[in-house]
């Protein structure tokens, strides 16, 4: 079983750490992992993305161009990567930041008001965890339990007091996903 995911958004939205958390979770489950960030001057424009592959077997290329799951944190990412979702795949986006929603009919589309919810949880930084929670509800890339364990790895010691908040965000994401209507 192989899951191929893309996380995309503005720099600072937590795109890379979102992918990294998931990667750690995969590693905890004994999977093969590949996490590949976009790098270099393209980051100047303020966009960032990373590709995560989680697999039971060997991973060939860490750079791929179509995905089972795309997570888009902003409008440009929706525009750029909607077409990169495999037919039947999943596109999750932050509806707070995205004005023109995706339109493909051959994929699952999940709209989550993640930024809005993060404001409600009083920490805009955890918007990414809300989305991650939503993904875990819809798919079974890794177990939620593994993600909470992974967070302990990814978050530097000095932020460990934020673990409960992150877990709350994950749960909230799951809730939002489970009530969301298919677009």
């Amino acid at each position: 079983m192989t899951h191929e995911l893309l996380f995309a958004g503005f720099g600072g939205q937590g795109v890379l750490s979102m992918g990294m958390t998931l990667s750690y979770a995969g590693m905890i489950e004994g999977k093969e992992i590949s996490w590949m960030p976009s790098y270099g001057p393209e980051m100047r424009g303020g966009t960032a993305n990373c590709i995560v592959i989680i697999s039971d077997g060997k991973i060939s290329s860490p750079i791929i161009s179509s995905f089972d799951i795309v997570v888009a944190l902003n409008q440009p990412s929706v525009e750029k990567f909607e077409r990169a979702v495999k037919p039947g795949g999943l596109l999750v986006y932050d509806s707070t930041n995205v004005i023109t929603p995706p339109t493909r009919a051959d994929i699952q589309i999940l709209s989550v008001p993640a930024s809005e919810e993060a404001v409600k949880l009083k920490n805009t930084k955890i918007m990414n965890m809300i989305l991650l929670g939503a993904i875990l509800d819809r798919t079974h890339v890794v177990a939620g339990e593994s993600v909470t364990r992974a967070l302990r790895k990814v978050l530097p010691e000095r932020y460990h007091h934020l673990l409960p908040l992150n877990e709350q965000a994950l749960r909230r994401g799951g809730e939002l996903a489970s009530v969301a209507q298919p677009a």
Binding site: M27, I33, W35, M36, G40, S60, S61
Partner: protein, 363 residues
């Protein structure tokens, strides 16, 4: 969780350098490998390593010359344009027979090009981009795990043969994170004495001189003969490669580094479709695994070489095969990574042109 760590290739390589007893690092930032310098300035310095950000790659490689000549395990790293600037220095180092490790995290060229993964520096690495007859030992990792492992091996080879060793990776291997496990490695067991190093001349020995100048052609020819003899030894002893599904292969793919992984996937896909294809992954690009390729080539109907360049290693493959089988080539350039499906498609084209039934003749 066991002893695995999730690390970028560049970081894994840097971490390995520290634990391999690399005494000093001199380098200049360049994407996609600046993490090596960054990791070492931080973690390396903390663990006692000397780390100097040089004013340029030219300065860096000459600092390496000095420090290696003074007997230290040393290393530098860069990416394509920066490695080009080191060519004079590398020729000097090879000629003066100084052990050191040079990392090239290859990006798309020529010129400033892109910063994406590529393999366009194969010729430069294996044939000698600098002037004169010399060879680097070239190791090509294909995973983050190997980015780390080959550092130990690279330093050991460098010391054993007093020869510069290059790790030729690519931007993807440098930037991606994978699981990595670091081996046990006792530095003391691996670094040989270096009685030739310039450390200050005690009364009992003549002065040690590190030089690549031998103004009498006859003398310089002797130096060259000695180097060539060393290369023959390296060629006979240090070839490393991985052979996958080659036993029953009717077709052979040759690919290295990241591309070998993709080719591996292609092999699986093709085999599922009934094409009996095998894969040779050269691990040492110099010395090149010509022997293994030649012997497999004799039995197959065709050889496909896949690279992220316009066709470079394929020349070494052709030289190895020497007409015993048709050799075709598939390449992507400029930072584009081939997909497994593309390779399968190429393989089918090759198979269609050279069905195995055909009597063995030469091409």
């Amino acid at each position: 969780m066991n002893d695995f760590r999730l690390m970028k290739g560049n970081e894994a390589l840097a971490e390995a350098a520290i634990s391999a007893g690399c005494r000093a690092y001199f380098g200049y930032p360049i994407t996609p490998q600046s993490e090596i310098l960054e990791y070492l300035t931080d973690e390396g310095r903390r663990r006692g390593m000397i780390v100097l950000q040089a004013e340029s790659e030219v300065a860096a490689i000459n600092m390496i010359y000095g420090a290696a000549g003074a007997g230290a395990r040393v290393m530098t790293s860069s990416s394509s344009p920066g490695i080009s600037l080191m060519q004079e220095g590398l020729s000097y180092i090879a000629s003066a027979e100084l052990p050191c490790l040079v990392v090239n995290v290859n990006r798309g060229g020529p010129g400033l090009g892109t910063i994406q993964p590529a393999q366009g520096d194969y010729f430069q690495a294996t044939k000698g981009g600098g002037h004169g007859d010399y060879h680097l030992i070239v190791l090509a990792p294909s995973s983050v795990q190997e980015m780390a492992e080959f550092v130990y091996d690279g330093f050991d080879l460098a010391d054993r043969y007093r020869n510069p060793v290059m790790i030729l990776a690519d931007g993807a291997l440098g930037q991606m994170m994978e699981k990595v496990e670091f081996p046990e490695y006792r530095v003391e067991d691996h670094v040989p004495p270096k009685p030739w190093a310039t450390v200050g001349k005690p009364p009992e020995r003549p002065a040690n001189i590190i030089t690549s100048l031998h103004i009498q052609p006859e003398k310089m020819e002797q130096i060259n003969l000695r180097l060539q003899e060393k290369y023959r030894v390296i060629e006979s002893r240090e070839v490393r490669y991985e052979a996958i599904h080659t036993d029953d292969a009717e077709y052979l793919i040759v690919a290295y580094g990241l591309v070998a992984r993709i080719a591996h996937k292609a092999v699986e896909v093709a085999r599922a479709e009934g094409i009996r294809v095998g894969l040779i992954r050269p691990i040492t690009l110099y010395p090149f695994p010509s022997g293994p390729i030649r012997s497999i080539a004799k039995k197959v109907a065709g050889v496909l070489t896949v690279e992220m360049n316009a066709g470079q290693m394929v020349e070494d493959v052709r030289l190895a095969v020497n007409g015993k089988a048709p050799v075709s080539f598939y390449g992507r350039m400029g930072g584009v990574i081939p997909a497994p499906e593309e390779i399968v498609r190429e393989l089918k084209t090759l198979a269609a042109a050279h069905p195995h039934a055909q009597p063995a003749e030469t091409y």
